[in-house]
């Protein structure tokens, strides 16, 4: 095992689902060490266990066996309340289907994590506005999701993920519902976030998307098949600029 304390440290993590009489082994011993500030893509076909791994990293689920250390804490034994606090403080989620609350303005969507952190209304509003400005939507804070394009909605979701200053962003197929141009813009935002020191864990099955990460882990049958470092593809300046100013 690595001696240097990684931000995310998984040791021989297994996950077994009981479906009736059958045991489904979703993870069969995954050991992974992700240091702070890394942009890592987890790839794999459906059923490879990448979503399960994502859920465990995201404290949405607990491993059946093995150890998972998040920022030095063994979270595999935490209860639902403690896990909720970790999700609130350390993690930020970006989903394929955006998962914004409908009939709720962008700024209110972004404020959501701060609500559960117990911040005052004025402070929440200020920070949500800043997060939206950071993703280039400072002029659309009162727009509702149904008034926005897919790319804009995903940027609101990213603003929601970063508003509580998390150390890790977990993105589950964030470009799955976006066209290629918008996908590139979103990847540009992730690269910027990484540059500001946030760890980005990206789950995707598209090689085009994983190309923007500096490290690619490929999963198969609940195990890590390969773990490679690469020179990330840079987002063209124009697209990145579009993402932050549009």
């Amino acid at each position: 095992m690595s001696a240097s304390p990684a931000l995310l440290q998984l040791d021989e993590v297994t996950k077994v689902y009981h479906m009736g009489d059958v045991d489904v082994h979703a993870l069969r011993g995954v050991t992974l060490s992700i240091p702070e500030g890394e942009f890592i893509a987890i790839m794999g076909a459906s059923g490879s266990g990448k979503s399960t791994l994502m859920n465990i990293i995201g404290c949405l689920d607990r491993p059946t066996g093995g150890r998972y250390l998040l920022a030095g804490e063994e979270v595999s034994t935490f209860d639902r309340y403690a896990l909720a606090r970790k999700r609130n403080e350390i993690l930020g989620f970006v989903f394929q289907s955006f998962n914004l609350l409908s009939r709720t303005s962008a700024v209110e969507n972004v404020e959501l994590p701060l609500l559960y952190a117990g911040l005052k209304t004025s402070e929440r509003h200020k920070r949500a506005g800043a997060a939206l400005t950071r993703v280039g939507l400072g002029d659309r804070i009162d727009h509702h999701p149904n008034q926005m394009s897919g790319g804009q909605q995903q940027r609101v979701a990213i603003a929601r993920a970063i508003v509580s200053n998390p150390r890790v962003i977990l993105a589950d197929e964030p470009t799955g519902n976006l066209d290629s141009q918008t996908s590139v813009e979103v990847m540009g935002i992730f690269q910027e976030l990484r540059e500001s020191g946030i760890t980005v864990v990206l789950v995707t099955h598209e090689p085009d998307i994983s190309a923007y990460a500096a490290r690619v882990v490929t999963m198969k049958d609940g195990r890590v098949l390969s773990d490679q470092r690469q020179e990330p593809r840079r987002v063209p300046r124009a697209a990145a600029a579009g993402a932050t100013t549009a």
Binding site: L60, A84, R87, N88, F93, L112, P113, Y116
Partner: protein, 409 residues
């Protein structure tokens, strides 16, 4: 996350579905307004009954003469004059719990004034009668003992009779009224007394001293008292005792053997009043329980909608959990939503109930009696309904698995 923030989130969620929230609340609104209106009306009816019994005179007993039995055909009470003037004197003198006792003789006669005539009940009685019936004089003077002894031909009119013979708002004191062609002078006018519990107009009556009644109207002196005896007991508490004592006295005086039937009867109007009151109370309880059932139905409506809402917003719950909501946050959010619905329903229901009670009371001519305790109880109870019926859906929401919730389509 404090309660104020939770409340704001709940209100926000409810306003996203305005029509549905309103329809859900409707059950509670109807239930609470029914409770408020029913109780207010019930109280009004009760107060009215009390009022009309109070107007009959308090601590009142009426002694009626017995019935005749001729050839198996039994007449009603009063068909045989069994009471004597000596009986009246004995009741006055020998029963310690009796404060006043007065004879009331009655007939119907045509009254003729200068301009009008009117047929009404003519009563012969003595001054105590007005004490027993708690009936003060409005104009002129009241009946005195000397009026009775001298056989003065004076009249004391009820308000209705004044209106019929002399017109409304007139002062007939000193005027002459003829009965059977005998002129009587109006000496006093009695205050308005209103209706009896059975709807009889107390003010449609004229009173004259006993002696004048016996000599001029009924004709001839009789040994028997051809009417009834009104008795006023010391207090409401002694009314029943007075009734017993009078019964014993009269049985003794009439030489009725033990086991034989009384040849007179005594009506205790206090008992009648409490029976009436009991009746209205039963009615109020019945109406209030029906209203409470509708509140319960309203609560089930809330539970139903909250369950639908939890299913519909499963993804929202998943998102909230993903960004850091713990089970208690989710539980309190849905519970506060249910509570907001039910309490809002309660408050609106109170408003409608008060409005409805006022309108109904105006229709029936009843006093509106709003009991503040009922308002508080209604709102608290509807809140309770919200908690009880909101708990299950809220708990269901809080127990959702975040992964399943996020994947829910």
């Amino acid at each position: 996350m404090n309660i104020l923030q939770t409340l704001r989130v709940a209100i926000h969620a409810l306003l996203r579905n305005k029509l549905r929230s309103f329809l859900t609340t409707l059950g509670i609104i109807i239930g609470v307004s029914a409770v408020i209106a029913m109780v207010a009306i019930g109280e009004g009816a009760k107060a009215r009954v009390e009022e009309s019994f109070a107007s009959m005179g308090s601590n009142l007993l009426v002694v009626l003469p017995g019935s005749t039995t001729t050839g198996g055909q039994r007449g009603g009470f009063g068909s045989l004059p069994t009471l004597t003037w000596d009986d009246l004197r004995a009741i006055r003198a020998e029963v310690p719990t009796v404060k006043y006792a007065a004879a009331q003789l009655r007939t119907n006669a045509q009254l003729v004034s200068e301009e009008q005539n009117w047929n009404t009940g003519v009563y012969g009685t003595s001054p105590e009668y007005f004490q027993i019936r708690n009936w003060p004089t409005a104009l002129g003077s009241g009946m005195t003992d000397s009026d009775v002894e001298s056989g003065a031909k004076v009249l004391f009119l009820g308000q209705t009779v004044v209106e019929k013979l002399f017109g409304a708002n007139t002062d007939p004191v000193g005027q002459l009224v003829r009965i059977k062609n005998i002129p009587f002078e109006v000496k006093g006018v009695l205050e308005r007394k209103g209706q009896s519990p059975m709807g009889q107009d107390y003010d449609d009556a004229v009173f004259m001293p006993l002696k004048a009644f016996q000599t001029k109207i009924q004709g001839g002196m009789q040994q028997y008292l051809a009417g009834v005896i009104y008795v006023g007991a010391d207090s409401p508490a002694t009314t029943a005792k007075a009734q017993q004592q009078i019964t014993n006295l009269l049985r003794d005086r009439h030489h009725i053997k033990p086991g034989a039937d009384d040849d007179f009867s005594i009506r205790n109007l206090t008992e009648l009043a409490s029976a009436q009151e009991q009746g209205t109370r039963t009615l109020t309880t019945l109406l209030a329980s029906i209203a409470a059932v509708s509140l319960l139905v309203g609560g089930i409506g809330i539970m139903n909608i909250m369950l639908v809402s939890v299913t519909e917003r499963t993804r929202e719950i998943g998102v909230r959990m993903a960004v850091g909501a713990n089970p208690a946050h989710i539980l309190s959010q849905f519970l506060v939503e249910a509570l907001t619905l039910s309490i809002a329903g309660g408050v609106v229901g109170v408003a409608f109930g008060l409005l409805g009670a006022r309108r109904l009371a105006a229709n029936f001519g009843w006093p509106v009696l709003i009991r503040p305790d009922i308002i508080v109880i209604s709102v608290v109870f509807s809140g309770l309904v919200g908690v009880v019926f909101g708990l299950y859906p809220a708990r269901k929401a809080s127990l959702l698995d975040p992964i399943d919730a996020l994947r829910f389509e």
